[in-house]
């Protein structure tokens, strides 16, 4: 037995020698983790995305004289340096280099004092983002001069994580050539493949909305990952546009006990959703998200426009939705001009897609959406 003990200790000693935890490598990440501005100039918290920072400023702020300060991944450096005064009349670009010097990321930093949301959305413009296996599209709108006005958010970056998508039109949100006028928005509910199912997210509805998709929380809290709404200084009255819809063949519900996590629901037909919400952004509720965007008891919501006669159709069909104000909600003109209110517009190819119910293949096409605002 002594021999056995001896050999075991010898082995353990040997194993300890070769399997020591080595010194930690230098950081490879190059993130802007936070952004602050001197003085009381910010109207909202900075919106920090992976390659973009958006600063919503008070109307009185001087865009040409801003010196944003950044905190970065430990050890990373930024150029121009944090605190450098720059003119933000047009977007500025920063480069962050990781601690180990091997990785760099370019950030677009945009500051705005104007809360004009365009009145016409045409879905003609997309840019593509490369993934490990293909690419997906991001929609944006431009004004008459070709200047970018807004960027639409979608769950495409989340779908990319499932590894199921390849070409742009295999993603849930993509551009189609057969629009009401020129190109249009197409949303298709899709299965998310093995890894999506492993994570109890077996399907993904196509969605497009004004706001931010926080991919960081896309898996842990998908309802909270969809941050609906961007600041507006006008009160919307109507949203109008055109749609086509084809429901997918089999409607499924999430069933965590099944290997593919999908339980077919016979005799149930999928339907889409289009809605818009005008709400007040407060400290407690800076933006709406999937958990509360349509809640009847949400005190921040002022008005909702929502499609009620959604139907399957292969003809372009008009929708014209009035914003219905909730009882006792009066818009404060001062807050309005300060950009304290927000507007969310949401399109989804499956009405219950946020709970992973829907029919794969359900496709909603939308085009030529116009917003009308009250004269105030």
């Amino acid at each position: 037995m002594k021999l056995k003990i001896f050999t075991i200790s010898l082995l353990l000693a040997g194993a300890a020698c070769v399997s020591c935890i080595r010194e930690e490598a230098l950081n490879t990440e190059a993130d802007i983790e936070s952004c602050t501005l001197a003085g009381d100039v910010l109207n909202r918290d900075p919106v920090i995305e992976n390659e973009k920072v958006t600063l919503y400023l008070k109307k009185t702020a001087d865009l040409s004289d801003l010196a944003p300060e950044f905190t970065l991944t430990p050890g990373a450096t930024i150029s121009p340096a944090s605190g450098t005064k720059l003119d933000f009349s047009s977007p500025q670009y920063y480069e962050v280099i990781s601690e180990d010097g091997r990785w760099k990321k370019r950030y677009k930093v945009e500051a705005t004092t104007s809360y004009n949301i365009p009145t016409l959305f045409q879905f003609e413009k997309v840019r593509t983002t490369k993934t490990a296996k293909g690419e997906y599209q991001i929609f944006y709108e431009t004004d008459n001069s070709g200047k970018e006005t807004i960027v639409w958010a979608s769950g495409n970056s989340g779908y990319a994580l499932t590894g199921a998508g390849s070409g742009a039109d295999t993603y849930p949100t993509y551009q189609s050539n057969i629009g009401y006028r020129n190109k249009c928005l197409a949303l298709t509910t899709r299965k998310t493949g093995k890894y999506g199912a492993d994570m109890n997210m077996p399907i993904a509805a196509g969605n497009l909305f004004l706001g931010t998709f926080e991919v960081l929380n896309a898996l842990t809290n998908p309802l909270k990952a969809t941050k609906f709404g961007i600041p507006t200084d006008a009160v919307p009255s109507r949203i109008q546009g055109y749609y086509k819809y084809k429901a997918g063949e089999t409607f499924y519900e999430l069933d965590k006990s099944r290997p593919d996590k999908l339980k077919p629901v016979p005799d149930k037909t999928d339907i889409f959703n289009i809605y818009a919400v005008f709400y007040e952004s407060t400290e407690d509720m800076k933006t709406l998200d999937g958990t509360n965007a349509l809640a009847e008891d949400n005190p921040n919501i002022f008005a909702v426009a929502r499609i009620t006669d959604a139907k399957e159709t292969d003809e372009w069909t008009e929708f014209d939705l009035p914003f219905v104000f909730r009882a006792g909600k009066t818009v404060d003109p001062v807050k309005l001009s300060e950009g304290k209110y927000s507007l969310a517009i949401v399109f989804s190819s499956s009405i219950d897609g946020d709970r992973f119910s829907g029919a794969p293949g359900s496709t909603l096409c939308v085009d030529e959406v116009t917003m009308e605002y009250r004269d105030e």
Partner: protein, 262 residues
């Protein structure tokens, strides 16, 4: 592969049974004749503990939070041919049926990974968080080692071995952490709770492995031996074209066995 394994088991068992019949007659003519020729026979059974690990541990691994050797057994039949008048040096040839396995739980930082699903899914990125791994393979191994008799009771052996995998499982999941999509500057996504990503690299395990082993064999009684052998794999357990795990992994196991010497 399974059929192959069964055939080998049957072969070993029948060899054991056959030699046992001889043994019962205690130093039957055959054994005595073998001894005169400098041949010795031994059968043994043992358990292995150890791990399959990158060497040295890559910097991406920050902490080993859990390790379980799992139950790994081996059975082996050996023939030793002694040389020379003093019969101090010899050559050992054997056939060993064995399993090697382990389970680990490690904390990683910036661990580069790429996984493929059956439906053509592909996820690539850098993982910071927990990785749980389960490894278990069965092999038919052939040790070809030199033996040295220190005295009548103690024998040392050392030399190479070659292993043929008959079945293999290398799988696990990642959880509690975050992925940077594609590379360290890509989208950051958190995994928590039941959000995990399963992986299975069983199909990427190499069939032929080789390594070196060294050990001692002690004759506790006339027929009963106790042995300890360290087996150190020298080639990566994965196929050459497998790049998901960016570092080579080597099996290192200690086998403790009890044997019957004829």
């Amino acid at each position: 592969m399974k059929k192959y394994a069964i055939a080998v088991v049957l072969l070993v068992v029948s060899v054991c049974a056959a030699t046992r019949t001889y043994a019962q007659e205690d130093r039957s003519d055959g054994i005595i004749r073998s001894l005169l020729l400098g041949l010795e026979y031994e059968v043994k059974a043992g358990v292995s503990i150890g791990g399959t690990s990158p060497l040295p541990l890559p910097q991406e691994i920050r902490k080993i939070e859990g390790y379980s050797p799992t139950f790994c057994f081996s059975i082996e039949g050996d023939v030793i041919k002694w040389f020379g008048e003093k019969q101090r040096w010899g050559f050992l040839f054997g056939l060993r049926l064995e399993t090697k396995g382990m389970q680990t739980k490690a904390q990683t930082k910036n661990y580069s990974m790429e996984i493929f699903g059956d439906g053509g899914e592909r996820i690539k990125g850098n993982w910071t968080g927990m990785v749980k791994t389960k490894y278990r393979s069965t092999f038919v191994s052939i040790p070809l080692v030199a033996a040295y008799k220190v005295n009548n009771r103690l024998r040392l052996n050392a030399g190479p071995y070659v292993s043929f995998k008959t079945s293999g499982d290398f799988s696990g999941h990642v959880y509690d952490g975050y992925l940077r999509e594609n590379n360290p500057t890509g989208n950051k996504v958190q995994f928590e709770g039941d959000r995990i990503a399963l992986y299975d690299f069983s199909d990427n395990l190499r069939t032929v492995q080789y390594g070196v082993q060294a050990g001692v064999n002690w004759k506790a009684f006339r027929h009963l031996t106790v042995s300890g052998d360290l087996m150190w794999g020298l080639n990566n357990i994965f196929k050459k074209d497998f790049e998901t795990i960016s570092f080579n992994m080597y099996p290192i196991y200690l086998n403790i066995g009890f044997g019957y010497a004829f």
